[in-house]
Amino acid sequence: MFEIHDLHKHFGSLHVLKGITCGIAKGQVVVIIGPSGSGKSTFLRCLNLLEKPTGGTIYVDGVNITDPKTDIRRVRENVGMVFQRFNLFPHMTALDNVAFAPLRVLHLSKDEARERALDLLVKVGLGDKADSYPDQLSGGQQQRVAIARALAMRPKAMLFDEPTSALDPEMIGEVLEVMKALAEEGMTMVVVTHEMGFAREVGDLVLFMDDGIIVEQAPPEIMFNCPSHERTKAFLSKIL
């Protein structure tokens, strides 16, 4: 699904990604962990070109998205994204948030778009909140709407950028449940998170990033039980 080769990203003189190479297969759930400032979010945001890489190549479903000739909108339609701070559209109801992209990007009819949106709201357990505005919803509910909004494009892969970091502890569970269900359906997922329980339970592969490189990648049981690098050990000992 994703083929990343020697990916670099500079912000001015700051070298944030220093050559990332990895592959993410269809249906795989990849969890990216690492200290803050290690480049995990930047890496994730490169995968749908919200950040423009300064070097290297990224193939998404066989399409080279780092080629300037590629229509990035087509690629983004197939790669959903969920943000740390939800970024719901505050001037639209939950239903309209979810129906927005099917209506405006896929040009479905109003009825089709709303029907699809309502199905997804039911799926994330918010069928009764369709007419609520984002500021009337709790953080956990907002994030579930945001997941439904991304799913409304029927993407082939989903990117999650610290989806539970802005939530009160009691709301983290409901969001992780939705993500877990999604993983079980076979969705390709790339998740930047500090939720090690989720990584352990749902992840197929864990990437440990530090200082702009992937230090170590392994299935969760190996990563968490017997990491091979000193930096990984030091990081895990601090958070586990």
């Binding site: 749908n48 919200l50 909108r73 087509r74 983004r76 339609e77 790669v79 959903g80 994204m81 943000f83 701070r85 970024n87 719901l88 559209f89 505050p90 001037h91 927005f100 992209a101 405006r104 990007v105 945001a146 909004r149 991304a150 494009m153």
Partner: protein, 219 residues
Amino acid sequence: MTFRWDILFRSLPYLWEGAQMTIRLTTTAVGIGFVIGTLLGMARICQYKPLRTLAAVYIDFIRGTPLLVQIFLVYMGLPQLLSFPMPRLTAAILALSLNSGAYVAEIVRAGIQSIDLGQTEAALSLGCSNAQVMRYIILPQAFKRIIPPLGNEFIAMLKDSSLVSVIALEELVRRANIVITRTYRPFEIWLGVAFMYLIMTIAISRLVAYMERKLKVDV
């Protein structure tokens, strides 16, 4: 020295017609200015540098020169340049609209820039084009936020529209001058005119406050 209420009252219908012209001028100018300002405001922050520079130069020119000079430029300068006659009303509306557009542009720009970048990113990540992001996500939110400063611009324009009296357009101030040359009662008339402006500006601020409440403007 007595205050001649009777002269003021007798002049009121005539002055009221002038006030109506003032209202028409102001609403038209701010209306056109809003369209110009929205386009200019977007041009100010677009990716295309020449357009950005052009918009900035225009805004600096308008904001850095007196409205009175702009009115003379349009009313007397343009006809000389293009050699066609310029009716007073057209000149007044044109000058006020061009002026309002520059001020509205800065309001619109600030409104657009006040919207969280996350909104743009969310919409882009769904496959929206830049134009769609602007139209469906940014502008609807920005317009709600700019209602209060836009109300201020409306009030400023209402007061500044008195300047077009210098090209003999019969709005409120011009009519007041005409009345005074007939009656020699400047104090009564100017005080009456001041109150007519006051009533209009209070009405506008009430209207803006009502719209704010209605749209639940969030800051």
